[in-house]
Symmetry: D2
Subunit: 354 residues, 4 copies
């Protein structure tokens, strides 16, 4: 199968290039009888929208979603939900300068080699603009999940790392600042830092942490489709992601079994949660938490040397309107992908027992 579908029972298939007529997708398998709040979908899109603050790209895109099917009289009908977001602000000329050259650490070169040629307008399909469709689907998945709470936030920008355990954070503060870090003091530092990076025409990486609460026991399909494996795949499929860890993650490596093991309480919960809410690929009812590493955006507004299609050296100047740091806008994308995974596994779990 080509790679533009995600999920098995709650299944999203997307289409669209950054500078095509429209992008969108189809959600197949969304159960019938669900009251759909269209405004909430648009709200999620607005969280990822460009131009929302001083530390993101100033590109202006309304990103208005149009639902074509699968909803009747305010409810899902069980038939596929088709939707589209029409592109209104395609400054293709912004990209004429890269038509014949390959930008370092972009997908330009590999798309050309893999497909024989490419849509050179802003990265085409490889642009993060594609993730808008994921946010639409994720917003619908969130409404299906209802009780399950998914909160993602920025926990690191460059060297600046939020060192508090998530239990000490107030998730209601996430949207209170442009960075989407629930610790307002740290958020301010991160924001100032991103602005200084932007001034230099440079970019910086970051980490998003996601916490999922009120997860029922039993989600996940061993052995290959373990819940955390699918979550990892989902996160790694987001543009610019370089790493994923859940529970104790890479730090757990240095621990001994006797200290790492999560002792049970008599109600089946555990005293600690180094497992990160997943045992053997199946949710155990504790909070699921994981972190996602994003590399610095490749497009720097500086002049750089690269090669053209003929393999000749060329010097070019980064142009266009880009994000100095991708994590603030990636928060709703991380939540959307988590919601898609959980929705899919919630349906799969209905088939485990006779």
């Amino acid at each position: 199968m080509a790679g533009n579908s995600f999920g098995q029972l709650f299944r999203l298939t997307t289409f669209g290039e950054s500078h095509g007529k429209a992008l969108g997708g189809i959600i197949d398998g969304c159960p019938a009888g669900m009251t759909l709040d269209l405004e909430k979908i648009q709200e999620e899109l607005n969280r990822r929208k460009p131009g929302q603050s001083a530390i993101v790209t100033q590109r202006k895109e309304p990103d208005t979603v149009e639902i074509y099917s699968g909803v009747f009289e305010g409810q899902t009908t069980g038939t596929p939900i088709g939707f589209a977001i029409h592109n209104t602000n395609q400054k293709s000329k912004d990209y004429s300068h890269i038509k014949d050259s390959y930008r370092p650490s972009h997908a330009d070169y590999v798309y050309d080699k893999k497909y024989g040629f490419r849509d050179y307008r802003g990265g085409g399909r490889s642009s993060a603009r594609e993730t808008a469709s994921r946010v639409v689907a994720g917003a619908i998945a969130k409404q299906f999940l209802s009780d399950i709470k998914i909160n993602a936030f920025v926990s690191q920008v460059g060297e600046m790392k939020l060192n508090k355990p998530y239990q000490e954070l107030d998730f209601s503060m996430i949207e209170s600042n442009a960075v989407r870090c629930p610790d307002t003091e740290m958020a301010q530092k991160m924001e100032d830092y991103i602005k200084s990076i932007k001034k230099e025409g440079d970019t910086i990486g970051g980490v998003i942490t996601c916490v999922i609460q009120n997860v029922p026991i039993g989600l996940g399909e061993p052995v290959f489709d373990k819940l955390h494996a699918r979550l990892g795949e989902a996160m790694l499929s987001i543009n610019a992601v370089k790493g994923f860890e859940y529970g104790s993650g890479f730090a757990g490596v240095a621990m001994r079994g006797s200290e790492h093991n999560d002792a049970f309480n008599t109600d089946g919960t555990t005293k600690t949660n180094r497992s990160g809410g997943v045992q053997g690929g199946i949710s155990n009812g504790m909070d699921i938490y994981f972190s996602v590493a994003f590399k610095p955006v490749a497009t720097v507004l500086q002049s750089y040397e690269t090669i053209n299609k003929e393999g000749e050296k060329v010097t070019t100047q980064g142009k266009g309107r880009h994000d100095p740091c991708v994590v603030p806008r990636a928060v709703p994308i991380v939540e959307a992908m988590a919601a898609l995974v959980l929705a899919d596994y919630t349906l799969l779990a209905r088939t485990n027992k006779i």
Copy 2:
């Protein structure tokens, strides 16, 4: 779909519990006309086999694979390859003590909750014994890949971290020691450390790094099935894995775009390789490298308090023959899963162009 299949075109489906009659699988989609070296398959199995050294479990299992179909006169026929490994050394009594109680940080509890009851003999399906089938399939995938070189090795045990870039390592030394670390000096330290941990009846975590060389340009299927996303899923589906990073990984977060970007040489290769051989989810011809974090084995040979099915506190004593550190035996498993991903994407890549 239930979760026991991996891959789309080069597809492995596995079965088997740690203490059942046999475990095995079916490889569907292995191309016809490939000369299959059965000894090489057994060699890979032997790398993962228990009892191979002083720092792994002393359980004795011959782990002999029997091929049932799909091979005729030494060649693959294009029909499914069915295989089985018969269990010969099932000390079920070893597990009687856990029949009614849940081991901390094992899958006992969630299997019970998800399926209504469980095969309590050594974790049943959740046992890492299942990975033997992956090693068989991976060994076949490796033979299909031929030119592509996959080398995994132990790069960290507990706090002991190998800090050399992989380019300075001699992969031919990986199998020269029980730990499977190519740096013999570090390997000795790791081995001594694991032995001391074992003496205490405790366990320790570790990291495996994998390097894939001679990868053709163009493997990977955006947007959801990016090459590194599937690699991440594959690794996270291995027992005890808590994290995955490729290329610059989590460290790349602190870098600026201007320093992180991989500048092109005129032949399309790059001067640096922070991308880890993948751009936009597609291989770019450079080395692919990634790291996988393994938590400490949950079974400690100490007495601990836990709960039984009735939710009552019980004190139990860890028994059985277990690994003090899982990474030495996990090296061939990491390679196997990487081979399965690459074999699948090698076939998919044949369909990209007219």
Copy 3:
């Protein structure tokens, strides 16, 4: 998986209800580098369009397709092709009379029972209007197949059966008449018959025969995904289809092996072709031919007794603009589904050998 996707590598996913804003789909896996003739796509849509002749529904729908992505500078890019057909002529009031009652031999009742409620406007998703998306995708698949020739035609209407072997027919005459029967004399009889049926406000069934020529040897994936099995599934998924047979079909039952077997010529072709171009689920290079049985359209413009949601008897009157016989408009749908199957298997066949 929900059932709105078809194909594995050349994969169509559709959305849309008969009276929603739009219907359409996504083709994922169409190879890159294919020059796409958009007019040919519209031509195929026009063959299925309502209002094209006196013997089809007089509903007026322009059925204009809009391509959103996957095509750049006239060529496919290898990225998903998203498309939509906007509904312009939705006479929902036509259906108010069936809002609370179930039409006999329609899907009204089962949709209500399966999903809890239904989009009652003209059958919603169960309307044959959905097949417009299939025709768009099939038109693109046809362009990918290029050399393979697919010709479907009406071979029976009610009792009127075309008894000539397809070899004696001139496929260029198929589009010369409203019925789409290549035998003009029989076509005239069929047309007159359909008109008489229509006058009575009744409907009649028919058979479409499809012939596929220039098929390469080796398409089809045993054992479950045999070429003819997938063709059968594809045809049976079309509204109103009740049967499928290929090669000798049901008539072959009465033959003896000695007369049914297709003897070989020295070039590997066969003297006869009772196999219908498929052996063991794999194309053998001979013409593939099959027949598809369509029941009479369920909507009759007569008064009839049925039940409402409360299970009470109600008498209602068939209204709206419907086809007296579905086969003339179904010809391009049969061709489209055949093209989708062949495109998918053409890509799969690239992966059979090393």
Copy 4:
């Protein structure tokens, strides 16, 4: 995906050649907590076994199934059920005469062309022996379905057709004769006829009709995965099948809508059942019935002319132990495939509503 898997949630993957070491499969997705009657599985296998009567092949195969996993203390565990049937009676020499020549209307030629070479022992993978694995899986699916009754029987052999509606038949008589026709008088005629055909070293075709009762309303996944479309694919994937029809089938073509429509009773059942228990691809609670056409077995015990690998004419003599008519032994295979489809859709139906 290669074609050796069937089903989405209740999923069978098979392996094995007619003359390999063993054949078998894996059932993934069978729900946990089901008491499995292993004897019933063997009983179904025995219905399909060679040597069971005078009108089937006299080959002797015990066809004993061995379950490797997925069952513990008599119950399914929710983990994959691996099983194998070891081949004990492989007279490979029987096939030496066809090693270099292609049997007419067999898959020899296409396998050679598709895969580059073939396992020439008795057709290898293309042999109907593969269906033994389907019968094992189907027997397990039947136990899962419990209330749903599936009865298949021989309704035609050559020209001899059973013309009674199935409602007049006593299904308990199906196993009372070697032909598996519930009408004992007709069964005797069919048996005599098959014997006479056998004497001539020839073969004859037949039709199997299947009736499925007590089907809940709502099984089937429009638009592509309609219940009858998947049933058709399932049947067409069985060796030697040339056609499939359900409900009114090909005969319905000649009817008018006013007579074909199934009028409702006030309880939602219908007065007639020309729809065959399926509306719009979804079960409506009425009996599902369909017919499957089988061509005459291609192996005739006569001398015939064919070609060898070099394309030279050769005269050969049909040998081995083959069935003069396949339908008596195909009855349990038809039931098995129907059971697999229904089990899969029973699980899928759990995900339709919130």
